[in-house]
């Protein structure tokens, strides 16, 4: 269901969407792990709000214990320092992410800050979207109605500065 909901999105290349089971045997809790990989259509950007809406339109929005471990995205945009935070501005969609440390890459934010050298630069970043872990209904509900002061956060795992 989640795979189909993602493949239906206008900005997603439906042919790129692949669901890969990660376990051969059914675990005791009955929910085998898997990964759904997907790419944006050329020239398009995946809107996470629309992706959440598409998944929420299925029965995954309620009455299930199916869940997600993480959502990792690769995004290209302008990275700049704002107050104490590093912020990724995803142009065209209005989405903005505060970049935070990920346990698997603890100094990634610091290295990115040094690479920026105090100025805003175009970069490609990969990281896990905070909040996309837990039962599907809980995650989708929280994403659709974030707290007033809650910032979208991306736990940074890798980055590449665009060469000028």
């Amino acid at each position: 269901m989640a795979r189909d909901a993602i493949a239906r999105l206008y900005d997603v290349d439906a042919k790129s969407v692949m669901l890969t089971p990660l376990a051969k045997d059914l675990p005791k809790n009955g929910y085998p792990p898997g990964q759904i990989v997907f790419d944006a259509k050329k020239g398009n950007s995946i809107n996470l709000d629309r992706m959440a809406e598409s998944i929420a339109a299925t029965r995954l929005s309620g009455g299930t214990n199916m869940g997600m471990d993480y959502l990792e995205i690769t995004a290209r945009g302008e990275v700049l320092a704002r107050d104490k935070d590093l912020v990724l501005k995803v142009s065209g969609t209005g989405q903005e992410f505060v970049l935070a440390d990920d346990p698997s890459a603890k100094d990634a934010v610091q290295r990115l800050r040094q690479a920026l050298g105090g100025s805003a630069k175009e970069a490609s970043v990969t990281g896990r979207v905070q909040g996309w872990n837990g039962r599907f209904p809980d995650v989708l509900k929280a994403w659709s109605k974030p707290a007033a002061d809650q910032k979208r956060t991306l736990a940074l795992t890798s980055f590449e500065i665009k060469k000028e």
Binding site: P33, G43, S45, I46, T64, R76
Partner: protein, 37 residues
């Protein structure tokens, strides 16, 4: 001629509204509850 000009103006407006480059380009969603085929 007037209709051709209208089409040209509309074309320019549509091009201006299109995003100039890809932004969130790739995703991986790790889930529990994948159906195995």
């Amino acid at each position: 001629m007037r209709s051709l000009r209208s089409v040209a103006v509309l074309g320019v407006l549509l091009l201006a509204a299109l995003p100039s480059s890809a932004e969130v380009t790739k995703g991986v969603l790790a889930i529990k509850g994948a159906q195995m085929s």
